[in-house]
Amino acid sequence: MSASAVPARTRMPGPQRFREMSNTVGWGVVAWVLGIAFFLPVLWMVITAFKPESAAETWPPRFTFSPTLAEFRLVFSGWGPYVTHSAIATIGSTILVLLLGVPAAYALAVHPVKRWRDGLFFFISTKMLPIVAAIGPLYVIALKAHLLDSIWLLIILYTAMNLPLAIWMIRSFMLEVPGEMLEAARLDGAGRFREITEVIMPVVSPGLVSTALICVIFAWNELFLALNLTVTNAATMPMYLISSVPQEGLYIAHLSAAATVASVPVIIVGWIAQRSLVRGLSMGAIK
């Protein structure tokens, strides 16, 4: 009896072990299939970008072709103003969002103002109206303010677009700052400014990085406002992608090359911020 019990404890019985293993393998397969399904279109875009235009639009798709950088050369010859506008609008609006979002989140989280719930709801309610419904008034306002086709208009609009989400995110990070630490800072004689810069900011900085990254992604990829309110002086990268689609003729390879180039900055920023991003997005999950 005892002799047979010993191996049963040290080694799992056959069927049970098989179940355990097939379970692990099963989830692994699901994860890989899903991952590949998400990645395949991106891979297809990158591959197509290296094809000559004649090889890009064949059916069935061709996997053997002589790779060329011709389309990339074409993209780089014309992207100058677009990428500059996108960079200015994205960086400018993200900096503004952080400058405005941090004090706003502080007022809603650390020393909540009166009716802070209403404030919080107001910020998110601005995202409930579809932007299409506001484009008419926005156009008129931009026209009267002489801001049509101006990079300043995009900076202002992207700031307004990202600010509500940023305030909500930063607020939730600030709620994680232990109350005792803020009280210690008060006793140590830190005023509001020092409290934010020396005590709160270092603790929430991973959260600020992930907030900034999300703002960068949204602003970089924004098309609707740019398309309707700018023409040439402030046209951004997404507009460049659209302009690569000609009225007639082949364009898939060119569009793929432009799209590949357009997605590179976001990937680079995301990769640099990866560590902070994981820490920021999982803040509060662990103490």
């Binding site: 630490m181 006793l187 020396e198």
Partner: protein, 362 residues
């Protein structure tokens, strides 16, 4: 250096709820180590936070050094606080943590470094640790950094909110004596909050016992132990706790465990004047003396806890069946199941009013 006074200090959290701190009157002398002790919800931490300026007053006032500070900002009260979870700044080094308050006061850097080093030396904190972040320290080291942050300021009053509760038992006992010794050397008025009555008794020059937001008694540890003013203090101070038994009054004494325990005349007169029919009798465990079958109080041993030097007997009393605890010598305690008898000196018996809990006949 300063004395601290609470004058009718009151704090009400919610309108309909009873006050968290109810008209607290407390005088703390210059250089005194005052411990606020009580169970959770007794208002001890709220009282400390009121002194720190982290909690506003709803009535009364607080004075530090004969100056009313009720509406003074925390930073201008010239106090330093050690928090339960230390509340160190995680992004700053140990030295920066300790010097932060001085930096806020615009003390020059040389002076700051000098005072931080001095405090580190005073606390036996290795200089190598000063450049580390709090994350890289052990619990005991963090506790000392939190102490150091308070010492560096050279404040008029130290406030400590259960600073030892996150340490393991051995370190807690060690640090307990170190803090008491440090306080004696620096001579700075200290208000120390704890729920642990052993900490309170061993550290405090005087101990203020709080319950339900009200001050029950404030006295030296010895006086609290020997002369508790009411049933709550009697039951709270002392480990194991005082045995409290409700006993009907008879001629000449109170009836307990099949016998009549003689009570001092003062108690009997006071009880009859108050028209009481029964009393709460309090006897400390060490005052129940084992008496080889000749004692008056009879019972049966249920459980024996060996502590080494002595043993605790959990005894079920005859007649009432209530349990009491007796402390006896550690060698050869009676075994569980054995019948025992105890003798009590009349002077060692405390009597309390069952309705109000007030001490009778003292």
């Amino acid at each position: 250096m300063a004395e601290v006074r609470y004058v009718q200090a009151t704090r009400v959290y919610a309108k309909d709820a009873p006050p968290a701190v109810d008209a607290l009157d407390l005088d703390i002398k210059d250089g005194e180590f005052m411990v606020l002790v009580g169970p959770s919800g007794s208002g001890k931490t709220t009282a400390l936070r009121m002194l720190a300026g982290l909690e506003p007053l709803d009535g009364g006032r607080i004075e530090i050094g004969e100056k009313d500070v009720t509406w003074v900002q925390p930073k201008d009260r010239d106090i330093a606080m050690v928090f339960q979870n230390y509340a160190l700044y995680p992004s700053k080094t140990v030295a920066e943590n300790m010097g932060f308050a001085l930096k806020m006061q615009h003390v020059p850097k040389d002076e700051r470094t000098r005072r931080v080093l001095q405090a580190a030396k005073l606390l036996d904190l290795d200089e190598k640790l000063l450049d580390r972040k709090p994350k890289a320290l052990s619990g005991g080291q963090r506790q000392r950094v939190a102490m150091g942050r308070a010492i560096v300021r050279e404040p008029r009053v130290f406030l400590m909110d259960e600073p030892l509760s996150n340490l393991d038992a051995k370190l807690r006992v060690q640090t307990r004596s170190q803090i008491a010794e440090l306080q004696r050397r620096l001579g700075i008025t200290t208000v120390y909050v704890t729920h642990d009555q052993v900490e309170a008794m061993t550290m405090g020059h005087r101990v203020a016992v709080l319950s339900g937001g009200k001050l029950q008694q404030c006295d030296t540890p010895r006086q609290l132990y020997d002369n508790p003013v009411n049933q709550f203090v009697a039951g709270f101070i002392g480990s194991p706790a005082m045995n409290l038994q409700t006993a009907p009054l008879t001629d000449g004494g109170a009836r307990l465990a099949g016998t009549v325990i003689p009570l001092p005349t003062a108690v009997r007169t006071a009880a009859s004047q108050a028209g009481l029919r029964e009393l709460v009798i309090g006897i400390r465990p060490e005052h129940l003396h084992l008496a080889d079958g000749t004692g008056e109080i009879k019972g049966e041993v249920m459980l024996v806890e060996e502590l080494g030097a002595d043993a605790l007997l959990h005894v079920r009393l005859a007649e009432s069946g209530n349990q009491v605890v007796a402390r006896t010598e550690g060698r050869k305690p009676p075994a569980p199941g054995q019948d025992v008898t105890f003798r009590v000196q009349p002077d060692d018996i405390f009597a309390f009013d069952p309705a109000t809990g007030a001490r009778i006949g003292s």
